[in-house]
């Protein structure tokens, strides 16, 4: 479980096409700037969000993203949540392996995004969908 209490408004963006991936990035970037994450952390967060949004689109068949400013009592951060009701991930260990791909990509989306974030959690049920939650904390 990720220990993160919301400190501000949840912003939601539907993911149904390529242009929504761009919108998710813009939403996450605006939240990162407002929370005063460093430039490198902003870049890591937005890049991870881009990978996860594309996963939601390509593997999950679409869904939505939520961007929430949070705190763990000591530090502020940004929580990003990606929800789809697609086929789910049958073998999570395999999905986290660098280079493993089912869509002809580079197979870096999930594993790469996890490396860029501070907290990372995947809940998935085959046949029902996947929810990925991740936090980037300020330094």
């Amino acid at each position: 479980m990720i220990n993160a209490e919301p400190t501000g408004e949840t912003r939601r963006q539907g993911i149904g096409g390529d242009d929504d991936v761009v919108r998710v990035r813009q939403l996450v970037r605006a939240a990162a700037v407002a929370t005063k994450l460093s430039l490198v952390d902003q870049t890591k967060l937005v890049t991870a969000a881009s990978e996860l949004a594309r996963n939601t689109l390509i593997h999950g068949g679409g869904g939505y993203a939520e961007v929430i400013p949070v705190t763990n009592g000591r530090r502020n951060g940004i929580l990003i949540v990606f929800v789809d009701d697609g086929p789910g991930i049958v073998d999570l260990d395999l999905a986290f392996t660098d280079g493993y791909t089912t869509a002809g990509g580079l197979g870096l989306g999930l594993s790469g995004a996890r490396r860029l974030m501070d907290e990372f959690r995947v809940e998935t049920t085959p046949g029902e969908g996947t929810t990925v939650s991740a936090v980037k904390w300020e330094r």
């Binding site: 990035r25 813009q26 870049t43 937005v46 881009s50 990509g105 580079l106 790469g112 995004a113 490396r115």
Partner: protein, 135 residues
């Protein structure tokens, strides 16, 4: 969505990406560049990514594909202007930028292209300055 302009600079094609890249736009750029290399006989491609605040695996793959396709069409590709935060993120993401050559800015990219071209033709005789590379 329109397209990203490709400028001709002597026998070099120059692309400056200034917008948040949508996937379709990136794919179109890939095709446009291949067409332009063949129609202009360009020997070099410079892609300026100063304007990109992130490079994710999709854009990274696009850059690698452009470099590979250019190579097959006898043109060398340099990616220039990568922001420091983008470089750090790319390495952490684990993106293998195979076949992509980089330079810090357009000027250094042009110089590197010229040097690469000269080296390629310098084999039989050491004649580097009369190389017909326009600027």
């Amino acid at each position: 969505m329109d397209r990203i302009p490709v400028l001709t600079l002597g026998d070099v094609l120059l692309v400056s990406i200034q917008v948040d890249l949508e996937d379709q736009l990136a794919l179109r750029l890939q095709e446009d560049l291949a067409d332009r290399i063949v129609s202009t006989g360009a020997h070099g491609v410079i892609i300026d990514i100063t304007g990109l605040d992130i490079v994710d695996s999709f854009v990274g793959r696009m850059l690698a594909t452009i470099a590979a396709v250019s190579k097959v069409l006898d043109a060398e590709t340099f990616v220039v202007g990568m922001r420091p935060a983008v470089a750090i993120t790319l390495v952490e993401l684990g993106l293998p930028l195979r076949g992509i050559r980089t330079a810090l800015n357009v000027e250094l990219g042009l110089a590197a292209l010229r040097a690469a071209r000269a080296a390629e033709y310098a084999e039989p005789e050491e004649s580097d300055d009369d190389e017909s590379v326009a600027t």
